[in-house]
Amino acid sequence: MSSISFFRPANTSEACELLAKPNYLAVAGGTDLIVKLRNGLFPNAVALVDISALPFKSIRKEGDRLIIGSGCTMSAVISNPEVNEYFPVLVKAASTVGATQIRNAATLGGNVANASPAGDTIPALFALEAEVMIVGQTGKRKVAIDEFFTGPGRSVLKAGEIIEGFALPLRKTAGEFLKLGERRAHAISKINLALSVFNDGQKRYRIAIGSAAPTVLRCKGAEELLEKAGEIDAATLEKAAGFACETAKPISDVRSSKSYRKQMAGVLLKRALKAIL
């Protein structure tokens, strides 16, 4: 481990060039990577590339999008007025990540790049139909968040590419994020759910469930049902919950069981809908 090198590139092209090399690891907030490194999960690591000097820390409006830099900490996201005004579901999700000490260091980009099925901000970004803004040696590209993940810990991000930010359609939404864990604070989700509702002439629902499959999943069945239903009564709630349970494809692991997770997908959706109605 002592032969690992350290780089802190000041510009993006230098960072991409370094990260194109095998076993060069990107470090942002470090809250996940350092633990893995110390637990010996990267035995072949050659270098650490600290990307925190890159200009990815702003939150700004660009046309009909709000751009949230990947280097924004959870605390920066939570305290930003625009994010609060437009995307309460993201504020709520980021507020449940770790505890204060973690939220002051962990970044939005890191939470997504880790591609954990239990990453709390990911369902929120799904529900807000975010695009992942990627920069690489040959240029930039955007990938819809629901096409970004390919499995647990895996994504379409290639060697030499960095997430520079997230582009979120700038529209007022109501939203709720719920998670179940061992504790009410500072816990990894057994299952989580993000709900975002907006009006474009008609009431639209966006629902995503995390920690219930190899990647976060949108629950389009429930979304369409709710959009067609108009008024949401008890029967509609039950039907929507049924879709959520059906969407969830969980496994049993150290944190929870398959059957509990499946059932809770529906419970969380009902709770989230009741919270915003």
């Binding site: 350290f6 802190r8 605390s75 204060t100 973690i102 260091a105 604070a185």
Partner: protein, 160 residues
């Protein structure tokens, strides 16, 4: 071959330099290189908060921060650096008078997080205290007395 990285940063108000290994954490550096031993490694993975220090005014887990990442404009503050701070003194006195210190291992972290809480919110209620301290674990499980101590420290500061 050891790849040492030279870092310059502010530690408890003083500009300092250190040579660190790329994988060394801020916690290891402040304990080994600077002999500031208040911050402690409990879990080493950001669960327990015993290593809490202020980085640019905000509490972070120093066990998860790479020392090599620090730059000249970064300010690290440990309990030792708040020795003469009236709020920290009120917190420490309240922890003692309320009997909030059992084995003591978690206390430097508890006081650092409490310090930031009282800076942001001079009159926190019980829920806010619990929430603020949710990243600090006390394995003696003396949470009620710790919460009472934070409440008392906030009263002392407001009545000064």
């Amino acid at each position: 071959m050891e790849n040492l990285v030279k870092v310059t940063f502010s530690l408890n108000g003083r500009q300092v330099e250190a040579e660190v290994l790329p994988t060394m954490t801020v916690l290891e550096m402040i304990r080994r290189n600077f002999r500031l031993t208040a911050a402690k490694e409990g879990c080493g993975k950001g669960e327990c908060g015993a290593c809490t220090v202020l980085l640019n005014g905000e509490p972070v887990n120093s066990c998860l921060k790479l020392a090599a990442s620090l730059t000249a404009s970064d300010q690290v503050v440990t309990v030792e650096g708040l020795e003469k701070d009236a709020t920290m003194q009120a917190i420490q006195n309240a922890f003692v008078s309320e009997g909030a210190v059992q084995c003591g291992f978690c206390i430097p972290g508890m006081t650092m997080t409490s310090y930031k809480l009282l800076q942001n919110n001079p009159n926190p209620d019980e829920h806010q205290i619990k929430q603020a301290l949710s990243g600090n674990i006390c394995r003696c499980t003396g949470y009620r007395k710790i919460e009472a101590a934070v409440k008392k420290a906030s009263e002392t500061r407001r009545n000064k």
